[in-house]
């Protein structure tokens, strides 16, 4: 490969590496964003439900009288994508309110009750689902019960619109690759041409062309001198040949 070709190859390889890095970065950022959004959603749901439950308890109602909580959890389940169920259970372990109506009155898994001892929200993951929970307190600061939100983690099949968007993204990346590659090649060509122009001029002068007008660089002048020297030497050699021939024939 010639030197200039090698420079093009290096620059295009660099561009390719750069685009690969950007693609990786974009995917990484998308994952980070999903995690951020999930944290935002989890935080809001738990805080909002806990605040609601504690506020109602603070008005003096008993936990069993908070039928309004049923509306709140039904509303939240409808509003947030991926929420499978929301359960509110008493400290004793009985489910009082649930988006899954058949669940009311049943006993919660033993694990949920042990979490009530902690003031912090908890989360647990099982295949296909993820649960987050928090306790809520009565006026005395004791755990009055717990709230558990169950999310589905089964990937939802892509819709046609999402497939279309993905296809569009792929086309955009390819277009960017082509455009950026062309831009890099064109800019390199212009720059290298500019850098090597004096030498190209000198080469043409050496080959016998007259120097381009307005170009009288030291290099072109040196090339002209070299050319003149070759011409002079050729003339002398030719003259010497003629003289030798004359001598030869004169014999």
């Amino acid at each position: 490969m010639r030197l200039l070709t090698r420079i093009y190859a290096i620059a295009l390889l660099g561009l390719l590496a750069l685009l690969a890095a950007l693609l990786l970065l974009a995917q990484q950022a998308q994952q980070t964003r999903q995690a951020e959004l999930q944290a935002l959603r989890d935080g809001h749901l738990l805080r909002n439900l806990r605040t609601a439950a504690e506020n109602y308890l603070a008005t003096g109602l008993q936990l069993e009288q908070l039928e309004i909580l049923q509306q709140v959890i039904a509303r939240e389940q409808a509003a947030f994508a991926g929420v499978v169920a929301i359960d509110v259970f008493a400290a004793g372990g009985t489910v009082l309110y649930s988006t899954d109506v058949g669940n009311r009155g049943t006993q919660v898994p033993e694990g949920w009750r042990t979490w009530l001892a902690r003031d912090l929200p908890w989360d647990s993951a099982a295949p296909g689902q993820r649960q987050i929970g928090t306790r809520f307190e009565n006026d005395l600061g004791q755990a009055a019960g717990g709230i558990v939100v169950t999310f589905s983690t089964v990937p939802v099949p892509l819709t046609l619109a999402q497939w279309y968007e993905r296809g569009q993204q792929a086309v955009q990346w390819l277009a960017m690759l082509a455009l950026a590659g062309a831009a890099v090649a064109a800019l390199l060509y212009a720059g290298l041409r500019q850098a090597l122009k004096p030498y190209g001029d000198a080469a043409r002068v050496l080959q016998g062309a007259s120097p381009p007008p307005g170009v009288a660089t030291p290099l072109v002048q040196a090339a002209q001198a070299q050319r003149a020297q070759w011409d002079a030497a050729r003339q002398r050699t030719q003259q010497g040949m003629r003289q030798l021939e004359e001598l030869d024939h004169g014999v």
């Binding site: 970065l25 998308q30 964003r33 950026a180 030291p218 040196a222 030798l244």
Partner: protein, 262 residues
């Protein structure tokens, strides 16, 4: 500008130019990627952000509705603005929170002015709503962190890759080009013909390679012509039995080789 100044060093020129081109084109690509990332992020966040705003407005409307049902008019309810302020501060996806009267006139408003797309929830107390809770959203808010991180990582990637490619181009093909350039200068400006570097690769030559090829070709032609002259002279000398031509032949050869290959 002299042809032997540092600026003319082809390692420098090739390296700097490759760096500049890659940083320029790479920055454009990175900016485009970040822009797309931001747009798709806002789309993705929008559903969650709307749901959160709806839920917060709903909760507020329920609390205010209870107070109204207990007989406190909305405008006389104490402590509403600080409560709105605290709610707004706790939830970064909200840009504004407002309580409006039933006819739509604002009663309390915190945060930025409400955009047209704001979430509006009625405060129910009896048959007709006693007012509204409005919440403005900021879809980009939850993405600030990852967006800033992506910006710095892409900037480092662009600079790092451009630098690596520039060094590679400067130290490998750039250094070879520079060697060619020095050989050309040495040959043309100082007349030294020692150590013309061997030709690089195959294919159509231009620029420096063309100069080197032409120089080599010119020297070869000159050498060949001189060799032919000397061979002819030698042949004549071998036939010159009595030596009367020797002086003439030697003079001719000397003259034609006067400043041959200084």
């Amino acid at each position: 500008m002299g042809y032997d100044s540092a600026w003319q060093d082809l390692r420098w020129r090739v390296g700097l130019w490759v760096f500049a081109v890659l940083v320029g084109v790479g920055s454009a690509c990175a900016a485009w990627t970040l822009h797309g990332l931001r747009a798709s992020g806002e789309r993705a966040a929008n559903q969650d952000v709307q749901a959160i705003a709806q839920s917060i407005a709903q909760t507020l409307a329920q609390q205010l509705g209870r107070a109204v049902r207990l007989g406190i008019p909305l405008e006389e309810l104490p402590g509403v603005p600080p409560y709105l302020e605290a709610t707004l501060k706790r939830q970064p996806v909200l840009s504004a929170l407002a309580v409006e009267q039933a006819d739509g006139t604002p009663l309390h408003a915190v945060g930025r002015p409400l955009a047209p797309g704001a979430v509006r929830v009625p405060i129910v107390a009896g048959a007709a709503p006693a007012g509204f809770v409005a919440a403005g959203t900021e879809s980009a808010a939850p993405l600030q962190g990852s967006q800033g991180q992506a910006f710095w990582i892409s900037a480092v990637a662009v600079l790092g890759i451009a630098l690596a490619a520039a060094l590679w181009a400067a130290l490998r093909p750039g250094a070879r080009l520079e060697a060619q350039r020095r050989a050309v200068l040495a040959r043309l400006q100082q007349g030294r013909s020692d150590g013309l570097p061997p030709p690089e690769g195959r294919g159509h030559a231009d620029g420096l390679q063309l100069v080197l090829d032409t120089l080599a070709q010119g020297d070869d032609e000159q050498r060949a012509a001189h060799a032919a002259l000397q061979a002819y002279a030698h042949e004549l000398l071998t036939m010159d039995f009595d030596g009367h031509m020797r002086a003439g032949i030697e003079r001719i050869v000397r003259q034609s080789a006067q400043d041959e290959l200084k």
